[in-house]
Amino acid sequence: MAQMILEVEDLTVSFDGFKAVDGVNFYVEQDELRCVIGPNGAGKTTLLDMICGKTKPTSGTIKFNRRELSEMLEYQITRAGVGRKFQNPSVYEDLTVLENLEISYPRKRNVLGSLFFRRSSEIQGKIESVAHQIYLGDSLGMKAGLLSHGQKQWLEIGMLLMQDPELLLLDEPVAGMSPREREQTAVLLNAISKGRSIVVIEHDMAFVRMIAHKVTVLHQGKLLAEGTMDQVQSDERVIEVYLGH
């Protein structure tokens, strides 16, 4: 068995007695690109929220590189190497693309460090290469608020890449993208999955087919099925609740 980077065991969270995630076990290997699918309200986003510390689980454990995450604060989890992209692209609209990427650079994240931060040529190079990778190499000076929806999605992925995370959590990265942009995103994700693990929540099955190594299906807070794309697609229960006949 390959080295596990993420081990989620018996994870449960309830809001007002309603179990949004209910006893989920979820393992991700190193270098794996995993897709999580399921109907809205199945608990996919809540699962990512718990891994990255946004929501505290009611019970269960989340181990990342053998470190327990559930007691850590968001920024500590980020510093440990977990990057999170939100459902709605969340970029700093008042700042330029360059500044968005620069802020995400994982050094000098304390107050004094950031006060006297100077952009070295190394950082400059890193920003340029990431910007190029996310197809925004020519838009560095642009205010992020002026980017198209799809470009904002890429920028947010780029901001995560600046952090060099070992585990990337992406919530609907291609929502609102054109088919062409979707393909570009698939290329991008395949490229960046080298040397790190990625968990993607997505509805677009064609897109999932393009990228997924393995697929996990959630339904009503519980794990419904897990396997390769073909296994999942032919699973009767998955067809019943999600894919449709």
Binding site: C52, K54, L73, E74, Y75, T78, R79, G83, R84, F86, S90, V91, Y92, E93, D94, L95, T96, L98, E99, E102, I103, S104, P106, K108, R109, N110, V111, S114, L115, F116, F117, R118, R119, S121, Q124, E128, D138, S139, L140, G141, M159, Q163
Partner: protein
């Protein structure tokens, strides 16, 4: 350094009008304050200007925390007051220990409280409280003014921000702090001078505060310090920290997931604003000759916000103009039709919020943009 990248240089060349104004505005402001006002105004008016500029320190701090940090503090009077009172304690002790200049001391000599501040004698406080003692020394007083308000602001606000208390709740809590401090000062008359405050100072480190030359010197010190404070503010805003601040204001969650501790940054900038206010308070007391609870409580704390709002909550320099303009208006009203002042300032709050949310700086920027657009057509 900044020109390594063509794409990065592009926006620098085409600065927004607001940014341009901030760049040249600094020079314009310096000329106005250092040359025009001293040549134009008599000593009395110049001291009034100095008074408003002292309050301008708070407004500059508010631009940092409110405009860029998104945190509306209604407790800047607390820090202004701390600075003001610490300076007052020093000045009062100096006046009390100088036998030839102080009438208060003559009186205290009569009552047998030599070296004691006069109001303590009148309140039959016989021994100088221990926490007054260190303020005999300028070497303690000045560091205390620079450190105590800033440190307490940091500790208090970090605790609060860590709990993710923000927005309106923070405003209300800081409002309560202003109320608390004002009540305490008024309540402990024997130690603080109560509702009359502490006044009747003579000298500041031997400099006779009542002569015109001293007033001029103090005015220049105030202006230079204020320009320095604006400079520090500009430096902070242009640094990566400034960008992070804007990022926190707009998307605090994202910042957290970029590995930052937003509470630390907010507390830092809050402490900086507190430091500015304390400096303003100290300079105010030297020049106006007064430390008073009427400058600590809720009313002045909220009024400081309007200085920043009139100038433009996103413009450090605007805050200075805002303080000067609103302050001068106050003088104008109080000299001519005092009963309308409250209508004016009340109306100003409503007007700025409704029609000028970015203040004068925003108005200027809009005018310029409008002009540019017309020229481009």
């Amino acid at each position: 350094m900044e020109n390594v990248l063509p794409a990065a240089a592009a926006p620098a060349a085409k600065k927004s009008p607001l940014a341009l104004m901030e760049r040249w505005g600094w020079l314009i402001l310096a000329v106005l304050l250092l040359v025009v006002l001293p040549l134009w105004l008599d000593v009395f008016r110049l001291t009034l200007a100095a008074k408003y500029l002292s309050l301008g320190f708070c407004a500059v701090g508010l631009v940092l925390i409110w405009g860029y940090g998104g945190i509306l503090s209604l407790g800047q009077g607390v820090f202004f007051g701390l600075g003001s009172y610490m300076m007052a304690m020093f000045l009062k002790l100096e006046a009390a220990s100088n036998p030839d200049s102080s009438s208060g001391t003559a009186l205290s000599a009569f009552f047998g409280g030599e070296g004691m501040p006069d109001f303590m004698v009148w309140n039959s406080v016989e021994v100088l409280p221990w926490w007054w003692e260190p303020f005999h020394h300028v070497g303690f007083t000045i560091p205390a003014i620079l450190l105590i308000p800033a440190l307490s602001a940091f500790v208090f606000s970090y605790a609060v921000f860590r709990k993710r208390v923000g927005g309106v709740y923070f405003s209300i809590i800081t409002l309560a702090l202003s109320a608390i401090l004002a009540i305490m000062i008024i309540g402990q008359q024997g130690y603080t001078g109560g509702v009359n405050g502490i006044n009747d100072f003579r000298t500041f480190m031997g400099l006779d505060l009542n002569n015109d030359k001293a007033k001029h010197v103090m005015y220049f010190i105030t202006v230079v310090t204020l320009l320095g404070v604006v400079g520090i503010g500009t430096f902070i805003l242009r640094s990566r920290l400034g960008k992070i601040l804007v990022a926190i204001r707009d998307r605090e969650d994202r910042v957290r997931f970029s590995g930052y501790d937003p509470a630390m940054f907010k507390a830092f900038i809050y402490a900086v604003a507190a430091l500015f206010s304390a400096i303003g308070g100290a300079l105010f007391t030297i020049q106006v000759g007064l430390a008073s609870p009427s400058l600590v409580g809720i009313v002045p704390s909220v009024e400081m916000v309007i200085y920043a709002a009139v100038g433009g909550r996103l413009s450090l320099i605007g805050a200075v103009y805002g303080s000067l303009i609103v302050g001068s208006a106050k003088t104008l009203f109080s000299e001519n039709f005092v009963e309308y002042w409250m209508y004016f300032i009340g109306g100003l709050f409503v007007f700025v919020v409704m029609f000028l949310p970015e203040g004068l700086a925003g108005l200027l920027a809009r005018l310029r943009e409008g002009k540019n657009r017309r020229e481009n057509v």
